[in-house]
Amino acid sequence: MGIKVNNVSYTYQKKASTATLALNDVSLEIYDNDFVALVGETGSGKSTLVQCFNGLIIPDNGEIVVDDFIVSYKNRKSRRLKNLRKRVGLVFQFPEYQLFEETVEKDVAFGVKNFGLKGEAALEKAHQALDLVGLDSSYYQRPPFELSGGEKRKVAIAGVLVIEPDILVFDEPTAGLDPESSKELMALITKLHEQGKTIIVVTHDMDLVNTYAKRVLMLDHGKLVFSGTPNALFNHIQNYDRLDVPLLIKVAKKLKEKGMDLPVEGIHTIDDLLTYIKKWRENHV
């Protein structure tokens, strides 16, 4: 399932003197089973845009089409918005702050309960979701507030996954996590993508974009300024000093300058780089 965004604009605090145009005539499309990274500086409108995707923010102008749902100012009071949230799951930045139940399984089951599932069936779903994020049955009965930061985040993500949305939006999923947990989390997101879900990741991290994203969208002051492959973006942002080219690409470029023959555009992970270096060494020993 994809998302179509047609000429969407949104202004914060419309009446106040501090009114800011968060989204300015944005049009874009996210395809079925896409893996999109949404990048841009702080305040560029990324979070506003993704909150439009499940109707938490209703755009002033334009519309967002998800399957047969239309989010627009005209249908802002629709009760169907709740059902849209079953299709588009939004994992907020620092989602661990949304935990509130007394046990992990109850907290995760909360989402499905809101959509009508009851008792054992809801817990069953919760267990599946916890299994997906890699928390075993020893966690089910524990209070979520006693868990470590990384575990809390997993529980919170399970709390969204349990609804089984077709489109998953992650707002800065790796913020504040240690490298190991980040890797685990990105592996989970990749797995979800392979299961056929459409993934949208809001991020600052260009390394993450390089390694995982199929497509990148860049916002700047509420406008869509770039849409294309990660490699095209890295060529494009050479002109932007505030966005950094991923470390791997930098290393590859330096190596190429020194005369090593390797394709800069084909390097997405450390393993890729290692393979090319090994190959080069074999040829030059």
């Binding site: 605090q13 949230r85 907020f92 935990l99 509130f100 989402g111 809101n114 507030f145």
Partner: protein
């Protein structure tokens, strides 16, 4: 959260905005006492109420406060007002001067009851307007400084004045942060399928729990972090602190002070006159106290 705009400070450069916060608080209290003065005669009460209404309209115009926001804030008070009316109308009372307005079943509804409840509601609205003038023209920080100033006489008896004013100013500082946080958590829970706007009482109660608990957790965590940060930077509640902003009493304040205090004197005078017209009350009390 845009609905919580009642009485929020808005920056303007008006006469009332520039008044000293201490002065404003004092005058507001005086004015409120004046509003809640009881009069024996309806004529005096009505006359004065009309005068208060005009005066507050003038004040609000000077301070450039939106009248609409005052009436909007009354929206939530309707139930209270209706309850008050019901109590006044249906609870019997012997002191009726005016005729019956109409009868519901076998209950006589007197004009007295209607007037009395309308009078109370009007005084509540006046009081609301008054607080709104205070809060929307005074910076929250100035307000805490003013409270601190008023609490100074309590220092010799070891009342923790500094601590309380610091707590107050921190609490005020974090209101917008907590509102943002509320907004964020509401959205996060809405993404998990909670509908805060539709559904029955029971469902909504559940929704509130899903909001309150995370809000408390994050507020407590935040307060602990803040306390640690303050300790690390050497905060000592007992230490003598200097201030960046000083409260200043200017000619404007003298003018406002004289105006309101003069008005208050007039009200007291009127209430005395008012009682004199009912010959038994005040005179007798005074003479009894003096031992005649």
């Amino acid at each position: 959260m845009s609905s919580m705009t009642f009485g929020r400070y808005t920056f303007r450069e008006t006469f009332i905005h520039r008044l000293d916060a201490r002065n404003k608080i004092f005058l507001m209290i005086i004015f409120m006492v004046g509003i809640f003065f009881q009069f024996n005669l309806w004529s005096t009460a009505l006359l004065l109420s009309g005068f208060y209404v005009i005066l507050l309209i003038v004040f609000m115009t000077i301070a450039r406060i939106n009248f609409l926001s005052l009436f909007k804030s009354l929206g939530g008070m309707w139930i209270f007002i209706l309850l008050l009316m019901a109590i006044y109308i249906f609870i019997p009372n012997n002191n009726y001067y005016l005729p019956t307005a109409f009868t519901i079943g076998n209950v006589d509804v007197k004009w007295d009851a209607i007037c009395q409840s309308a009078y109370i509601v009007m005084r509540l609205v006046l009081m609301l307007a008054l607080t709104m003038i205070l809060t929307s023209t005074t910076k929250p920080m100035d307000m805490t400084y003013a409270f601190e100033w008023y609490m100074r006489p309590l220092k010799p008896i070891h009342f923790p004045v500094n601590e309380i004013s610091m707590t107050l100013s921190i609490a005020l500082r974090f209101i917008p942060t907590l509102l943002d946080e509320t907004d964020r958590i509401m959205k996060a829970q809405a993404s998990r399928g909670i509908d805060f706007n539709h559904g029955g009482v029971f469902k909504r109660f559940g929704a509130i729990i899903a909001l309150i608990i995370p809000l408390f957790v994050s507020a407590l965590e935040r307060s602990e972090e803040l306390a640690n940060a303050m300790i690390v930077r050497g905060y000592d509640p007992k230490a003598k602190r200097s201030k960046y902003r000083l409260l200043k009493f200017s000619y404007r304040d003298i003018f406002a002070f004289l105006l309101i205090v003069g008005l208050f004197g007039l009200i007291i005078y009127l209430s005395v006159i008012d009682t004199k017209l009912n010959p038994l009350d005040l005179v007798e009390i005074i003479f009894k106290v003096k031992g005649f």
